[in-house]
């Protein structure tokens, strides 16, 4: 095991690196979400479910509120809290008609980086971000999309 220490010789422990949070988060993902994503058919279903309703929708009388399936809820809640640095967000580059995908800086005051990828609606841009975050997450588990 590497004995890491900072410039003052003070150990950089696993505790300082939030090891347990990451380990439990990994366990939860592998137990409850990943199996649905490994299977290409169920993954497609999850993606289709998000594409159909990327921003939720108003509730209409006599109908249930349009909410996601349990697995999509678990997945998207994880994707929505990915770390801020490099996180995908939307920049409205033309009012109500052009939504560009951009990347957040690590801290306020630093530059938001715009990609050339644009969408005509906010919903489509939101779904594109969903796919990017999903792709990044699966890549961490060695799954190419």
């Amino acid at each position: 095991m590497v004995q890491e220490a900072d410039a003052h010789g003070i150990p950089i422990t696993a505790l300082k690196q939030d090891y347990a949070f990451k380990a439990v988060d990994d366990y939860n993902f592998r137990m409850y979400i990943l199996p649905h994503l490994v299977n290409p058919e169920s993954r497609s279903q999850i993606i289709a479910e998000h594409r159909a309703n990327p921003l939720y929708a108003p509730t209409r009388p006599g109908k249930p509120a349009p909410i996601y399936s349990r697995v999509l809820v678990r997945l998207i809640d994880k994707l929505r809290v990915v770390p801020t640095a490099g996180k995908h967000i939307i920049v409205e580059t033309q009012p109500s008609s052009e939504y560009s995908i951009a990347l957040l800086p690590p801290a306020r005051g630093e530059t938001v980086v715009l990609t050339e990828e644009t969408y005509p609606t906010r919903g489509e841009a939101d779904h594109a971000i969903f796919l990017k975050r999903l792709s990044n997450l699966l890549a961490e588990y060695g799954i190419e999309t």
């Binding site: 900072d6 410039a7 003052h8 003070i10 990327p54 921003l55 939720y56 929708a57 108003p58 509730t59 209409r60 009388p61 109908k63 249930p64 509120a65 349009p66 909410i67 996601y68 809820v73 809640d77 929505r80 809290v81 770390p83 801020t84 995908h88 967000i89 939307i90 920049v91 409205e92 580059t93 009012p95 109500s96 939504y99 560009s100 951009a102 957040l104 800086p105 801290a107 306020r108 005051g109 630093e110 530059t111 938001v112 980086v113 715009l114 990609t115 050339e116 906010r122 841009a125 939101d126 971000i129």
Partner: protein
């Protein structure tokens, strides 16, 4: 890949006041990012929501003498709180001692000035710093490139009190630098109290450097920063700097400290450690024998002028030279010091334990820009919501256009209408410049969508949020408890899509109501909450009907009292809102442009107050939710905050009370089984964003009527945390919209003495539905029925 700054807004500004009467003057301060010229026009704002599904943007151009083209100029913002003590000859020390208790909250964030009289520009002076390695550091300046530095060799830890000192003898060159942790059972707040092994962070260095005094300068002595340039061209005077006999020049400051200081001292010779202990043993110098006091140049007592409040920016020095200072950018007073025991939870009870001041490198009290133009309002100008519309080269685009809003009241001679709309100016300040689209890792859980940044958000981010607002935390994790109107507030704008809503929120959403009142032909006087704070019941009493805007969440005690009195005296009131009258908020006693909110440890909140920090600096009373001060909003409104879901909305169904004789008039023209508000510009329904419910256990009047309730809220709608004793899956505790019947908006009506009445809708989305179908819909109809009924003289049915 390209830099999103190309899409950034390039012009913005603010006013010296938010609320103004005809005949009075209002000054505008404008920043032009690229020094471009701009066209300014005064406009009356009517509808700010640009959604193609609604009536669209509406404004009326007003001819005024200030309409014209101006040369634009870049205007700097000097954020970061610090204390300034003007230069004084006794500070021209040769040998010296600097000492203090310090509580660094971000010691590893780079160089930070603690106690400094050091000019970074010419390398003169001296100071005690935290260096780039998080170590305590003494710097003695002898000109550029001729600086002596001694560092402690050990890192300072975060959120831990230390006693620190540097003693320098100019004749021998001897330096003693001490960095000594000072942890008690409670003084660290949420920081650790066990420091083991102590050597990891404790240090005592004795060394010798080349002798000689620091180069003399005429810089001010700063606490929590050092001087980048002595001449900023700016001064402090008046307002919250009340008591100054003349303006004080302030420098451009740098090396801004995050954390607390307590008992800072400067002496003009090198003290022994024993002498330092004596010097730091009392809040001032009264405890010291006369001869021991002689070398003391400055002993600042941060408790000295704390009494009923801790609002003063004056920093009292106890020695014979009275080297008093001022806190710039509102450093936070009334916070626990190094000796805090937790015996007292307020400085009103244990002032001696609240001798710390907390500094943040991002706080702003006033942008201090040069004025661009001053408008003297025409005497016949109609009351309304107005703005200076600024367009670079006259171009209308999100990158080149900004609006600086202000409220025009009726003339001082009296009201011009029987209806008043009170704009939620306090809440606009509380929500100012959150910048959470860039910085919050969890906001997307609350909003259920990826963040959307508009050109305004990009400018705000570049400017590090111009001082933030009470929905943000500073870099060190402390909540932002102070907000000022004297800087651009970029989310208080028309045409703005807000992070917290699928469309609009706060100011821009309130224009839905302004537009409806105008379209329906009601004569209305506009006031701000600040006006109600200052004029109280005298203001409200002039009107038959008063309306709040859609989210009057933050109110002062005086505002609360004014509405309570209005209710008792026969006032009729439409609360077309949710989550109103929720947070205790106080104005600075000397500056109505600055407010304070301490979010305490109960309430649905953006941050939690740290231990012992629950009381406002501005009035000394307990901050947090009004309900914990025994004034739940239901006392006034009949409904209490119950849920929020910053996503799509739902609709209402009528309840049996709506058919009662006393209530049926409200539903004239609305069918018994008609669904109410399944349409609208905020999330597609009249029930959404935040929701209130009636609750007899929380002060709803016993004869209140339940007219309608909403249903069908999604799983993004969660219960308010103040009602969750234990989190639990399932219906009544932490259950979300699809399981928990407390997640609903209740529409409530009740009568009050002297023919008074209150109508509450318990939803922030209600006003977004008013314009649907060209204003012909049941939300509009119900609202009109109530307005007309309330305006009719005589008893209510």
């Amino acid at each position: 890949m390209q830099d999103a700054q190309d899409h950034m807004l390039r012009i913005t500004g603010y006013t010296d006041r938010l609320s103004v009467r005809p005949g009075e003057a209002i000054t505008f301060y404008v920043h032009s990012e690229r020094d471009e010229s701009y066209r300014a026009n005064i406009v009356r704002l009517i509808h700010g929501d640009t959604s193609p599904e609604g009536p669209g943007f509406k404004e009326e151009l007003i001819e005024t003498p200030v309409n014209g083209t101006y040369a634009g100029a870049y205007q700097r913002i000097d954020a970061g709180s610090y204390i300034i003590v003007p230069h004084s000859p006794p500070m021209d020390v040769e040998s010296f001692t600097l000492c203090s208790y310090i509580y660094p909250t971000l010691p590893a964030q780079g160089v930070q000035g603690l106690l400094t009289k050091l000019n970074e520009k010419d390398g003169t002076g001296f100071g005690l710093f935290i260096d780039e390695n998080a170590e305590l550091c003494l710097r003695i300046g002898r000109g550029v490139g001729a600086e002596v530095r001694v560092s402690s060799g050990r890192p300072l830890f975060r959120n831990l009190w230390y006693q620190v000192s540097a003693a320098y003898d100019a004749r021998s060159g001897r330096v003693r630098l001490v960095q000594r942790p000072f942890a008690t059972p409670a003084n660290g707040g949420f920081g650790m109290s066990l420091v083991y092994p102590l050597e990891d962070t404790a240090s005592e260095i004795e060394t010798t450097v080349s002798p000689g005094p620091p180069a003399v300068n005429s810089c001010p002595f700063l606490m929590a920063a050092s001087v980048a340039d002595p001449d900023s061209g700016r001064t402090i005077f008046g307002g919250h700097f009340a008591g100054l006999s003349k303006p004080w020049p302030i420098p451009i400051h740098t090396h801004k400290f995050n954390g607390r200081l307590d008992r800072p001292r400067l002496a003009n010779r090198a003290f022994s450690q024993d002498e330092i202990e004596i010097l730091l043993a009392g809040p001032g110098i009264d405890h010291m024998p006369l001869d021991a006091r002689q070398p003391v140049v400055g002993a600042w007592d941060f408790t000295a002028n704390i009494h009923d409040n801790a609002a003063s920016t004056k920093i009292v020095e106890c020695g014979p030279f009275a080297l008093n200072g001022r806190g710039v950018n509102m450093p936070v007073r009334g916070v626990p010091g190094f000796n805090w025991t937790s015996d007292y939870m307020s400085y009103r009870h244990g002032r001696e334990e609240y001798g710390a001041i907390h500094f943040h490198d991002e706080s702003v009290d006033d942008a201090r820009w040069k004025p661009a133009f001053t408008l003297k309002l025409p005497k016949d100008l109609k009351s309304g919501v107005y703005a200076a519309r600024l367009r670079i080269d006259g171009i209308e685009s999100p990158e080149t256009e900004d609006y600086i809003p202000f409220f025009v009241r009726p003339p001082v001679t009296g009201p011009t209408a029987r209806v008043a709309l009170v704009m939620s100016s306090v809440s606009y300040l509380a929500y100012a410049n959150d910048n959470l689209g860039v910085t919050s890792p969890v906001a997307q859980l609350l909003t259920a969508r990826a963040a959307l940044l508009q050109p305004r958000d990009l400018l705000l981010n570049k400017k590090e949020a111009y001082g933030l607002g009470t929905y943000s935390t500073y870099r060190d994790g402390w909540g932002v408890n102070i907000s000022s109107a004297l800087r651009p507030i970029l989310n208080m704008r028309p045409k703005y899509t807000h992070l917290f809503s699928p469309s609009v929120w706060q100011f821009n959403a309130d224009l839905h109501l302004v537009d409806w009142l105008e379209t329906m032909g009601y004569e209305v006087d506009i006031h701000s909450e600040e006006d109600v704070h200052h004029e109280g019941i005298g203001l409200l009493d002039q009107y038959r009907v008063v309306l709040t805007a859609h989210h009057p969440e933050y109110v002062s005690e005086r505002i609360m009292n004014a509405y309570q009195e209005f209710q008792l005296r026969g006032g009729r009131w439409l609360y077309l809102a949710a989550n109103g009258f929720y947070w205790v908020t106080e104005f600075h006693p000397d500056n109505p442009s600055i407010v304070e909110v301490r979010k305490s440890d109960q309430g649905s909140r953006a941050w939690t107050g740290m231990p012992g920090e629950y009381c406002n600096a501005f009035d000394g009373k307990h901050g947090g939710a009004w309900r914990i001060r025994g004034r739940p909003m239901s006392n006034l409104l009949g409904v209490t905050f119950t849920s929020f879901g910053l996503t799509q909305s739902s609709y209402y169904r009528r309840a049996p009370d709506s058919e009662r004789e006393e209530c049926a008039w409200i539903f004239e023209g609305v069918g018994r089984d008609e669904v109410i508000g399944d349409f609208g510009l905020i999330g597609g329904g009249a029930a959404g964003l935040e929701l209130d419910r009636a609750d007899l256990e929380l002060g709803t009047p016993h004869r209140a009527f339940l007219l309608a309730h909403s249903e069908g809220h999604s799983d993004i709608f969660v219960p308010v945390t103040e009602e969750i004793t234990y989190s639990s899956r399932g219906q009544l505790l932490t259950g979300t919209g699809e399981t928990n019947p407390k997640i609903r908006a209740d529409m409530v009506y009740f009568k009050a003495p002297h023919n008074g009445g209150v109508f509450s809708v318990g939803s922030m989305a209600w006003c977004g539905s008013l314009s649907h179908n060209n204003y012909d819909n049941n939300v509009s109809r119900i609202t009109k029925n109530v307005m007309d009924g309330f305006l009719r003289d005589g008893p209510l049915p």
